[in-house]
Symmetry: C2
Subunit: 435 residues, 2 copies
C-alpha cells in the first residue's frame, strides 16, 4: 500500500471506509466503489464500509413525506429515510459479491449503533458491533448503513442528522479498534481554501483534530464537526481522500510536532468560509446586569446554535447597548420569534435581521502568540477593500464577518497574504457532495 505513511510499516489491519451519496449515485458508481473495496480487501485488510443513501434518494424521500404530511412525526420520518441506506448497502454488497468476494450488509441497528431517542438528530451512546466482528471473522466484508441507529429505550429506528454517516464510520472505527477511518469524498483531501474560490489552493497533507474542528466550525464542508470530535475523543486517524482517484489525501490525527521544521513558527492550515449564517442585532438593550443572559437563554431555549457575539454601546443612546450575534440562517425565523417573545420583558428597541453576510476564517496552530498573524490578516482585508462587521478569535483561529459579496475577495486576499498559493493548480473537484 503506497499511501499509508501514518501506518507503521504498512501493516495489515482493519480499515473502515465511508462513501457518500455521490460515490454510490447509480449502478455504475456502486460497481466502481465495489472494486475499490475489493482492492483494499485484497491487500489483506479487514474492511468495514459505511455507506450513505444513493445520490438524491434522501431528498426524494423527504419530498414524498412532504406530499403526505406537512409536519411528519420524527419517528416515521426516520423510518422512511433509513430505507435509503438500506438500498445502497444491499446493492453495494451485491456488487462486491459479483466480484467474487463475500459482503454482508447491516442496518445501523444490526451493526449495534445504539442512540438516544431524539429522532432526526440522535446521538450515539454505545456501539456494540458483535455482528460486524463476526462477519469479519468469517472473512466477509461488512457493509453498514450510515446515518442511522436504534434507540436504547424504545428500540425505534433513529437517524443521526447532519454528518451522520461520517460519524457512524468513526464510531465503528473506534468500537472495532480500526487502524484508520477513510472518508471518501469528491475532492483529494482538505485544501488550504475552497478550490472553487482559490484555484491555487494547496492540499494539506496532515492536520490536527483541533485545526480540523476549527475548519469544520468555520464552514469547511469536508468533514462534519461531530465526526472530528468523535475521532479526537477516541484517537482514530481519519484519512480524507477522493473516491475518484487513488491519491493520498489529508490525514487528520494528533498534531505531530516532530514533523514540523520550525516549531515556533505559526502553522497556517488554511482559509475557511461560510455563507450559511445570518446576523441578528438586538438594538437598544437597556444596559443592566443580566439582560444579555436573558436574551441568549431565550435563543438557546429555541434550540438555536449561536456562533459569534459582539456587544457595543448603542450609537443612539449611551445607556443602551446593541448586541449582535450570528446563527445558522436556517434558524433565523426561530431566533427572531424567540427574541420577539421577550421584547417587552427585556425592553429592547428593535431587532435587525441580516442574511447577506459571510464568515471568513484563518485556521492554524500558534496564532495567538504571533501578533504578526492578525496584523497581516487585517491588512490583507483592508488592501482588498473588504469591510469587517464582526471579529472573533481563538487559539488557532481568526474569524471575521463580512458582506456575503466580499467572501471571495476576502478568501483570495488572505490565502495569498499567508503564502498559501500553490505554484500550480492542485485541486480537482470530481463531483457533488454526499451526506
Amino acid at each position: 500500500m503506497g499511501t499509508c505513511w501514518l501506518w507503521e510499516e504498512c501493516a495489515v489491519g482493519l480499515v473502515v471506509q465511508k462513501y457518500g451519496g455521490s460515490s454510490v449515485a447509480d449502478a455504475a458508481a456502486i460497481k466502481r466503489v465495489a472494486q475499490r473495496i475489493v482492492a483494499t480487501k485484497k491487500e489483506g485488510h479487514e474492511v468495514v464500509v459505511v455507506v450513505s443513501a444513493m445520490g438524491d434518494t434522501t431528498d426524494e424521500l423527504l419530498d414524498l413525506a412532504q406530499q403526505v404530511s406537512p409536519l411528519p412525526p420524527g419517528r416515521e420520518l426516520d423510518m422512511l429515510l433509513t430505507s435509503g441506506e438500506r438500498m445502497s448497502m444491499a446493492l453495494l454488497a451485491m456488487a462486491i459479491g459479483d466480484l467474487g468476494h463475500e459482503a454482508r450488509s447491516f442496518t445501523g441497528s444490526q451493526a449495534g449503533v445504539i442512540t438516544d431517542s431524539v429522532h432526526g438528530r440522535a446521538r450515539i451512546i454505545d456501539v456494540t458491533p458483535g455482528r460486524i466482528r463476526q462477519a469479519l471473522d468469517g472473512g466477509a466484508i461488512a457493509i453498514v448503513a450510515g446515518f442511522q441507529g436504534v434507540s436504547q429505550d424504545s428500540k425505534d429506528i433513529t437517524t443521526l442528522g447532519r454528518g451522520g454517516s461520517d460519524t457512524t464510520a468513526v464510531a465503528l472505527a473506534a468500537a472495532l479498534n480500526a487502524d484508520v477511518c477513510e472518508i471518501y469524498t469528491d475532492v483529494d483531501g482538505v485544501f488550504t481554501a475552497d478550490p472553487r474560490i482559490v484555484p491555487v489552493a494547496r492540499r494539506v497533507p496532515h492536520i490536527s483534530y483541533e485545526e480540523m474542528l476549527e475548519l469544520a466550525a468555520c464552514g469547511s464542508k469536508i468533514l462534519h464537526l461531530r465526526c472530528v470530535e468523535y475521532a479526537r475523543r477516541y484517537g482514530i486517524p481519519i484519512h480524507v481522500r477522493s473516491s475518484f482517484s487513488t491519491l493520498t489525501g489529508t490525514w487528520v490525527s494528533e498534531s505531530q510536532g516532530s514533523e514540523q521544521a520550525d516549531m515556533e513558527q505559526p502553522i497556517i492550515s488554511g482559509v475557511a468560509h461560510d455563507s450559511s449564517e445570518a446576523k441578528i442585532t438586538v438594538v437598544g438593550v437597556p444596559d443592566k446586569v443580566g439582560e444579555a443572559a436573558t436574551i441568549f437563554s431565550s435563543v438557546a431555549a429555541a434550540d438555536v446554535n449561536i456562533d459569534m457575539i459582539v456587544q457595543n454601546v448603542s450609537a443612539v443612546d449611551t445607556n443602551r447597548t446593541d448586541i449582535s450575534f450570528t446563527l445558522p440562517a436556517s434558524d433565523g425565523r426561530k431566533g427572531v420569534e424567540a427574541l420577539t417573545a421577550i421584547q417587552a420583558t427585556v425592553g429592547f428597541e428593535s431587532l435587525r435581521y441580516d442574511d447577506g453576510i459571510g464568515k471568513v476564517s484563518l485556521i492554524g496552530a500558534g496564532m495567538r502568540s504571533h501578533p504578526g498573524v492578525s496584523a497581516k490578516f487585517f491588512s490583507a482585508l483592508a488592501d482588498a477593500g473588504v469591510n469587517i462587521e464582526m471579529i472573533s478569535t481563538s487559539e488557532i483561529r481568526i474569524s471575521v464577518v463580512v458582506r456575503a459579496d466580499d467572501i471571495d475577495a476576502a478568501v483570495t486576499a488572505i490565502h495569498r497574504a499567508f503564502d498559501l498559493d500553490a505554484d500550480q493548480v492542485e485541486a480537482v473537484v470530481y463531483g457533488g457532495t454526499g451526506r
Copy 2:
C-alpha cells in the same frame, strides 16, 4: 358498521387490514387509504394495517439489483426489497398522523414475524407481536410492513415471497386474535369468473376456505393459496374487498351450511382459469414399477411444484407409457433440466415441453356426489368446440387443460352452463394489482 354481517351484533373488535401496492401507489393514494383506516378506527376498532411496497417499487428495486449483479445473493436481495415496504409504511403512518390519529410503523422484524432462513420465500414459523399489542394498547394504529420477517437463526431480514403481504396480514390476525382480516384489492371481492373474460360474472358473498383454496390453486389471483391455508388453520375470517369502494366484498370463512337453502344441491362458487402453467410430457417411459417415482422425485428435488399428472399407455409402444404433468411455466427450464439429467437412468425416449396451454376449473361444494355436474361441464366445453388435453377432479373441483387460445371460450361456456351469469354487470375493476 353496515358491512359486518358475519360479526356478532357488529361488535367493536380488532381489525387487520391489508393494502396492496396499487392502493398505496402514490401520495394521493396513501392519503386516501389513511382516511379509510382512520374511519375504521373511529368506529371504535383497534386497527392493524399491513402494507405492501408502493406501486412498482419492488420491480424498480429488482431492476437496480440486476444492474449491479446478475445473480444477487438472497440475503442482500431481501435487504434491498424490504426497503420498499419501509417507505410505504412510514408514509402511511405520516398520512394518518396528519389526520390527527397516532400511527406507528413496524418492520416485519419489529412486528415479531419470525421466519426460517430461506431468503426470497421464507416461511413464517412464529409471530410474537408484543410491540404491536403495545401500540394498540396505547391507542395507536399499527402499520406493519408486509412480505417480510426476520430469520430465527441468523437474525437476517427475510422476504416471504409471493402472497407474502396477504400472509403477513392473516398471520398477524391469528397472533393478535383479530375478529377479521380485511384484504383490500382492486375488485369488489371474489367473482364467479374473471370479469375481464366474463363481464356478467357475479360477486360471491361468501365462500368456504376449501373452495377459496381450490380457486387460488386453480389460478384465481385474488388471494394467495398460502394466505388462505393460514387463515383456515387458525379460523381467521377474511373479508376480500375493494379499496376503491365501500361495498361489502366476499367473506372467506368456515362453510356455513345453514345459510344454504338447498343443502343437497351442489353449490357452484365459480370458474377459475390459469394461463401461467406449462406441460411436460415424458415420452416412452419403460412400464416398470418405480419409474414414475424416480421421475417425480427428480422434479421435486429441483424444487418444482407439479400440479396435474396424467399417465397413458404410449401410442408408439404398448410396453411403454407417456407421463404428462403440468408445472408453473416459470419452472419449465428447471423441470426439463432435472428430467434430462435422469434420461439415461430411466430410459425414457424423449421430452415434450408445451407452454401454450391453459387450465380451466369449476369450483363448488358437493360436486363429486352429483354426476350431473361433470356431464354438464363436459357438454358445455364440447358445445363450445374446446378440446380437452388433461382432466383432474377433487371433491369440490373439476379442472381441464386446454389450449391457451381456448381459455376464454371455455370459461364463458362453463359460466353460462351453470347459470352463473348475472342479469347485469356487477364487477368493476378499479386498477392494477398489488403484491
